[in-house]
Point group: C2
Chain length 486, copies 2
């Protein structure tokens, strides 16, 4: 892809327009995007010292600051406590906003000549999934790569080095890249080809003439945004008619054996020891720098909170965090539904417990119609991809589904109304009326998201003591397994 | 303070109660606090290896995870890109929530034996101001210091070191502290005495017996929270009757000379050069690691946005960020009004521009009654304290107030309705009707918050070109001054 680009004598079709005029056109489009709830991400990546600063400046300065933000991506090494797309999710613009990215989630790929073929493939797979997710979520992603020759790069580095202030722009990386220009050239060419996806192609911009490059980036962005707004409006119409294909699960949660139970003495005999072991294993995972995610789903009143409380009882409170998932806040509603979870995944050595989770997308949001049929229908795949990313990062992922019978739920609701009225609402009773629809959603969810490496653990919670012990035992078993293989 | 504490044979008045019972009582109080919109911060600080982990565990595990969070404070050195209370504001619990702090904003003070007397005094002053602000905002702050003898500390360090997992809890700091126990003892005793404020006293807890210490922390917290809830309810009643003392400013913004102007040619002659210099100075500030805050306030349609746009025109977009301040979001409403600003102050070498700011508290919130009279009345002092903290951190702080006449505003409103209808709302016209009340608020604000190191720069914006040049010139002058003294 790089070969076809002449870096000298490049003449952009937008060369006759002024940057101010292009900037104002972009600002006009921004207002339209804000009105239409369409986000735009403009990625400015490329060689070191290739003029990203000026291009970003020109892109940003006419935009409305209330709905745009320049985000600087750091070298992955500084953030490698986290999974692949961590920085992206931190910087992702909210619905209707513009995000201008200085570099991108490609930084680490571009930067590392010595990344193994396998690691490279894994990164590319997750980036590809991410770009598909953005596309499906009607976010416009525009990818620019600023290109220049070895001599041009050298000239800029020299100029910067001689400037008393701008010399802070020159790092070792710049010099190293210029010295090994040929090697990087091949590396970039290969990566650009591999990640030139149909839905998100690269735009290579010769940047020797900084002003020309700026105009080209602005003009190209304007054209793409105009086209994409049209496409998105059509997609929105089409999606309204989308029907999720009927799915019949082979097994139903309703047939799950709920007879397991533990009497008080048996429970008392084992619980202290299990909790002490879980507490010790939390330290062991911390020491091994392994991040852990534990998802708790289940029927209302199935005892998720109680099971979590017993699980963490002897864990050091600095090692775990419980994320209760309730209705999304205003800010969360302005983002992709996975955004709030991506921003709460644990850093290495920590445990994130989710009391309800992203699976709400295919349960409550499906049943109550908070998500469109097209949205929840594609969520199964999005969730599988997300969990695969976490697993590839070396995360321990456990998913518990706590089951109770409809009768037992009734007993617990009634008991709550007497003893803990703050724990029962009209909504709980309304959800109960939709028991069968929920079961259908649960069955499909379990069938479609139980993967080899992140299977669902179905736990009978008809007897709470049994459920609590089962959760602890599963955590201990899984933690020991991953530590052994570490 | 430490001397009066016997670390051995300590018998807490809560020793006969079980931790579960105390935890449940705390959870019950948490529900009350959530209902009453009262936040609670429980700080657990103290010696290294003094059992903070277990105490925090016991505090946290019975609480409702939806409205509580354990926050771990890092050693200041990792965050020293930022001002003194940065970590506090990052971790501050929202209205009605519980925050359990593992260490606190005192960490750096406790940790640094070699802090100069002046630095220590500065830190203590800002912490004192912070605790007063929390007190005034009806946030319950409970400060615990876990204390132990040199032998007890040694014993725990040894036990941890021999544990295959818990050995990660032992750092060099633990060993160093134990070796220099006497010196740290004196250091802690002095600091505890100096920061034992009437509104936020320390509670020293002998922690050799971990379980006893946990019970004592829980029981003490319960008693304090009960007392404080009563006090806060009384304060709320009393505050309703608060009347802000009448204030007559010596000068009025209405008497400001608005005749300055620049013709098109003069403007064209200077603007490019000023913008280039501002762009270079942004790099110079970055290189010198100086953070900069620029506040823009002014009448509606005074041209704040336009002045900001010209200011940043040649600045590298990675060095500045524009923070537009509109009505607070749901989350922001659940916090102290300064919270959203504290969380957006620049890190070293960066420029944060505020298009409207915390001064809204004493303008729009005062005039429209969004803040109570008691709230905006004490805001002048809170704002002075906050800016002093930023200045002490070495920040460059500039505050611009753009003035136009009432007639000029009318002309601009009318022009907007024709050319930029998206920039004018009914609210703008309504605010205009309250011109005199706003002027009164502005005059008092400028009189009370123009300090020696952070004065207001009043800018006539009757002629926009004059205002833009004046802002650029002021930035250049101030940046050069701070760089010279650096």
């Amino acid at each position: 892809m790089l070969k076809s680009v002449y870096t000298k004598e490049f003449n952009s079709p937008f060369s006759n327009q002024s940057r101010t005029a292009l900037g104002e056109e972009l600002a006009e489009l921004q207002r339209e995007c804000t009105e239409e709830d369409i986000s735009v991400i403009i990625m400015v990546d490329g060689w070191e010292s290739s003029g990203k600063g000026l291009v970003i400046n020109n892109l940003a300065r006419e935009l409305d600051a209330r709905s745009s933000r320049v985000a600087v991506f750091e070298d992955y090494s500084k953030e490698d406590d986290y999974f692949y797309t961590y920085q992206f999710w931190k910087h992702k613009p909210a619905m209707g906003d513009f995000g201008i990215f200085d570099r991108s989630m490609y930084y680490h790929l571009f930067n590392q000549l010595d990344l193994s073929a396998e690691d490279q493939q894994t990164w590319i797979r997750h980036i590809k999934n991410l770009e598909q997710t953005l596309y499906d979520d009607e976010i416009i992603l525009i990818k620019f790569f600023l290109h220049q020759t070895q001599e041009e790069q050298k000239r800029i580095i020299d100029t910067h080095q001689q400037d008393p202030y701008r010399n802070i722009l020159v790092s070792k990386k710049d010099l190293e890249q210029n010295e090994n220009y040929e090697e990087y050239y091949k590396h970039f060419a290969e990566l650009l080809k591999k990640t030139n996806f149909a839905i998100s192609p690269w735009h290579i911009v010769p940047s020797a003439d900084r002003i020309m490059a700026s105009k080209h980036v602005m003009g190209t962005s304007i054209n793409i945004i105009n086209d994409e707004i049209k496409r998105i409006k059509q997609t929105r119409e089409a999606e309204k008619k989308y029907k999720h294909p009927y799915f019949k699960a082979e097994k139903s949660i309703e047939d799950f054996d709920l007879t397991s139970s533990l009497n008080k003495d048996e429970y008392k005999r084992v619980i202290d020891d299990l909790q002490a072991r879980a507490g010790a294993l939390a330290f062991a995972l911390a020491k091994a720098n392994i991040p852990t995610v534990m998802v708790f789903e289940g029927m209302d009143a199935a005892g998720k909170g109680g099971a979590i409380k017993r699980l963490i009882y002897q864990m050091d409170a600095r090692l775990y965090h419980i994320n209760p998932t309730s209705a999304p806040s205003d800010l969360e509603k302005d983002h992709h539904y996975l955004w709030r979870f991506y921003n709460n995944f644990p850093r290495d050595g920590h445990i994130a417990i989710f009391d309800r989770s992203w699976y709400g997308r295919v349960m409550v949001e499906r049943v109550e119609g908070f998500a469109t049929e097209a949205e929840w229908s594609r969520a199964y795949g999005e969730i599988r991809n997300m969990e695969e990313e976490l697993l590839d990062d070396g995360m321990l992922v456990m998913k518990f589904f706590l089951v109770i019978s409809k009768d037992e739920q009734k007993r617990r609701f009634e008991a709550r109304q007497i003893n803990k009225p703050y724990k029962i609402t009209d909504e709980d009773w309304r959800n109960r009326e939709k028991w069968d629809v929920y079961v259908e959603a649960i069955d499909e969810m379990i069938a479609k998201t139980s993967t080899e490496k992140a299977p669902w653990t179905i736990v009978s919670s008809e007897d709470k003591k049994h459920a609590r012990v089962k959760v602890l035992e599963t955590f201990i078993q899984e933690a020991e397994r991953i530590l052994e293989n570490n």
